[in-house]
């Protein structure tokens, strides 16, 4: 029974997902939006419910396969919040889905459940199952607009490459299991040195890293990201950017610091190289982008690189910074996608040029997108700045022992400066680029009509803006949470 209580939030989410599917059978089509909002509300309740857990120390469930600690709780809240906002976005977007709106909501909930399980995973089998739950849900979510070739194409590409990565992951798990004889992280952490130093074990871990790297879109496993981000429906992309990346991240942290803490030092060079390449690739490819969603896809690759900088620092400050960065990323990216969903009513054109004059048509949207981009670029007073600040600080603190980190820092700084160029390019388009020449079909309307922003979206937008500002200006409280989470993950990790 205890076990069930510990996975209570997951169960609640799953039940909600099933309920949505069931309700859909009876509810008239006009009520489907209400179902979506209701589901979002339930997520809100579950989010608040997670604060009922008081964890003086980590608790295990199902024979140690699941663990509930501050880290897991942090990520569960993170996923719940993200999914709630994505649901609101999805409701707004549902008109463009053409069919199966409720299934769309339910799939989001199932993916959410997978992410929440991932946050608690303490066993390779749970890791695999949770990850696949997320991935399979996303195959469908990505290709949900079946009438759009682009959406289908995104789904198929994600499917093939995701399955390929899963293949590597599973084979890696098999190798790790084969050499150590256990799937459990806690037990793996006590594996003898002989096992840990075996090259085959290392190979297995690397293959696991391939699977996780695919999720967080780290170079060289990033190749799917831009295409899928561009093709998938906006809510899917938003959830993919925030949720899926965070799920990959939390699993990476669990494996690295929970399962093989003895090997982290040897993982550092790999992490550093991957981080540097990821940042560079992301920012460089983003420079010439014209499509906003694709731009955000590359930007999310770059963000993965920054997150890996924090991981590569290998200190508590770095991990804390990763969590903080992700929290800021949540509000930032969701704000951007909320705006994308509203500002591009015509789904087939997400060209940046179409945003010209947005500040007149919808000042709130323009301001929100501008704030989001500024935050992504890492400029005060927004969340992205403090995240990057913490990352820099952590990496610098660790660099005394590892000079390679100085190079990584240099790359990171160059990356930030380049990224400013393209983020600010979008702001320029919104605020002072002249309107695109009006299409010949409607020469009579010199400026497009004002965009209406529905109330739930407005609330969600304000929530995101408030979140960005809160994390940027009053970092204290969240920082305490992330510190707690990091301590629970690995007391062994040195605290500065």
């Amino acid at each position: 029974m205890d076990d069930l209580i510990l996975i209570g939030p997951e169960l609640a989410v799953l039940i909600t997902g099933l309920a949505v599917l069931l309700l859909d059978l009876w509810a008239p089509p006009s009520q489907r939006k209400t179902i979506g909002y209701a589901a979002a509300a339930v997520l809100g309740v579950v989010f608040l419910g997670t604060f009922a857990f008081l964890l003086p120390e980590p608790r295990m469930a199902f024979g140690g396969m699941l663990v509930l600690d501050e880290l897991a709780l942090f990520f569960k809240r993170f996923f719940l919040l993200a999914a709630g906002l994505v649901l609101i976005l999805a409701v707004e977007f549902s008109d463009r889905l053409k069919a199966g709106e409720s299934e769309y909501f339910a799939l989001i909930l199932f993916a959410l459940a997978g992410m929440m399980f991932a946050a608690s995973a303490n066993d390779f089998s749970i890791l695999f199952v949770a990850l696949e739950l997320v991935t399979i849900a996303f195959y469908v979510l990505a290709s949900f607009q079946r009438h759009r070739t682009r959406s289908l194409e995104a789904g198929v590409k994600y499917l093939i490459l995701g399955a390929l990565a899963s293949g590597f992951l599973v084979y890696g798990i098999a190798l790790v299991f084969g050499l150590s004889g256990t799937m459990n992280f806690t037990r793996l952490a006590q594996a003898p040195e002989a096992v840990l130093s075996s090259p085959l074990f290392e190979l297995g871990l690397l293959l696991v890293f391939v699977g996780l790297g695919f999720k967080i879109a780290a170079v060289p496993f990033h190749i799917w990201a831009a295409d899928v981000y561009e093709g998938a429906p906006a809510p899917t992309t938003a959830f993919l950017a925030v949720g899926s990346k965070a799920a990959g991240m939390v699993l990476l942290l669990r494996v690295l610091h929970g399962a093989v803490p003895a090997l982290v030092d040897r993982a550092q060079p790999v992490l550093m190289v991957v981080a540097a390449l990821t940042i560079l690739y992301g920012v460089l490819c983003a420079i010439p982008q014209q499509n906003l969603k694709r731009l955000l896809g590359y930007s999310s690759i770059a963000s993965a690189g920054y997150l890996l900088v924090g991981v590569a620092a290998l200190n508590a400050a770095g991990l804390s910074a990763v969590l903080y960065y992700l929290a800021g990323y949540l509000f930032t990216v969701l704000a951007a996608f909320l705006v994308i969903a509203l500002a591009f009513p015509n789904v087939d054109s997400e060209e940046i040029g179409a945003l010209a004059g947005l500040h007149e048509r919808a000042p709130l949207l323009a301001a929100a997108l501008a704030l989001a981009l500024v935050s992504l670029a890492g400029v005060p007073p927004l969340a992205g700045f403090f995240g990057k600040f913490l990352l820099l600080k952590a990496a610098l603190a660790a660099a005394g022992g590892t000079p390679g980190l100085y190079w990584l820092l240099g790359v990171a700084i160059v990356g930030v400066v380049i990224s400013l160029a393209y983020y600010f390019g979008v702001i320029r388009t919104m605020y002072w680029e002249p309107h695109p020449p009006t299409s010949p079909s409607s020469p009579s309307s010199p400026s497009p009509p004002c965009l209406a922003v529905p109330t739930p979206m407005r609330v969600a937008l304000w929530l995101c803006i408030a979140g960005m500002l809160w994390l940027g200006v009053m970092p204290g409280s969240i920082l305490n949470l992330t510190d707690l989470a990091v301590q629970s993950l690995a007391p062994a990790v040195p605290v500065p």
Partner: protein, 530 residues
Amino acid sequence: MQSLSFIILCPLLAAGLIALVPRNYQVVFRSLALLSTLLSLLGAIRIFAGFDTGSAALQFEEQVAWVDSLGISYHVAVDGINVGLILMGAVVAFAAVCVSREITARQKEYYLLLLLMAGGILGAFASYDLFFFYFFHELALVPTFILIGVWGRGEQRNYATFKITLYLSLGALVALVGLIALYLEAGHQTFNLWSLARQLEADPIDPARQRYLFPLLLFGFGILVSLWPFHTWAPLGYAAAPTAVAMLHAGVLKKFGLYGLIRVAVPLLPAGVQSWAEVLAWLCLGNILYCSLVAMRQKDLNLLLGNSSVAHVGFAFLGIASLTLLGLTGAVVVMVAHGFLAALTFALSGYVRQQTGTVNLDHMGGLLERLPFIGGVLVMAFLAGCGLPGFANFPGEALVLFGAWQGYPGVAILAAWGALILAAVYMLRAVRVLLHGPLPERWGKVADAPHLWHKLPYGLLLAALLLFGCWPRLLTDKIQPCVADIVRRAEAPPANSAAGLARIALPPAAAPALARPGATDGLTASRHPR
């Protein structure tokens, strides 16, 4: 009202209010902006007047813990160095809002961003916490970008916005890395400048490390101040910026980098500054001589002013590099003086542009006939720009030259050439081309500032220049004790400053070797987590 937070928060709160007011109420925006900057200005004057001259202690201190785990706190205070800068910032901010009359489109966003910029920079000058110091400065980055982009002018506007933004953020990031590294090297878990200064005096950072840390701050801050050869953003950006932004940026914001060097880099990294001072001294010639020469060739008044402003900050750099009481005091005076001067010149060029629609010097001439007031002020401002006594720039530049002579006579000679000759050449050339000569017919309708209210911002800035020019003691007496403290630190050899610790008996050669963590004392043991 005699509170630093009041000065900082006035513009920021007004910006918040403006965000909430619907955009139909055009008149509200301007009034709110004027009111808030005026209040800020009054507050700054009260602080300046109430400042206890001759004391090196912090005054008007306010401190609120912010992020305990990182040692970040909101800590504002003034000492002799920043009290003048804050006053200058407040005056320029008020004047900038005053001259924004020319802005008619999208006033809401304009004033919101302008106030954000003003509040940010005032906060940066007042902050005694490295984090907030940086944070407040960066507040201005995005407003600068949008303000230049939307209300800017000229064909190169887009290029200029991106150039200025990228340069500034690159500099800021490099400086940020330097600041964080400083925080970590100090190992006291605090961003508070005051306690850092105290602790580092007793237990300085290993000189070898200082030598690596200092260039980060030097070039980081240097890019922000357009240190040669990272200066090309400045003229271009100022030429494209709307008047008020050019005033605030060239006048106030740019001083942040210099302030950072004086406030953070020089006192906290004495060994670093000693080994890099010579490089800085020669680099600043790039500003003073080279940029003056470039200014001589400009056809666009704003480009000329931009280059001249780059040249002028070279003196502040030279003052810093001299590491003498005179030089550093001079550098601070130059900062204040140039703040007023740059704001004034850009305000005037903005007026000329508003009236004639161009700042191309080839099309100008004889405007003094039509603009007796503006032209007269312009002549005075330009004369101030060539270091004429009676204006605040003269005491600053003279002190810098006197100070620099002690360490770098060669540099001082060349700098004096730049100050006395080159500056006069391009400034007088501008006066000649702009104001003197016959009046072309097409400027027959150009009108002077009509009444007192319109003349106010120019008069205010000019009065400030004259006040501090005729009576530099208002500044120097306040600056002196603080700078004396800095110079004492910079001059003291590292081994001596550790007098309070057990390392006193060690020969100098052994001290650096032991300064590594673990070997010395409990404080340093926690420096490096791994």
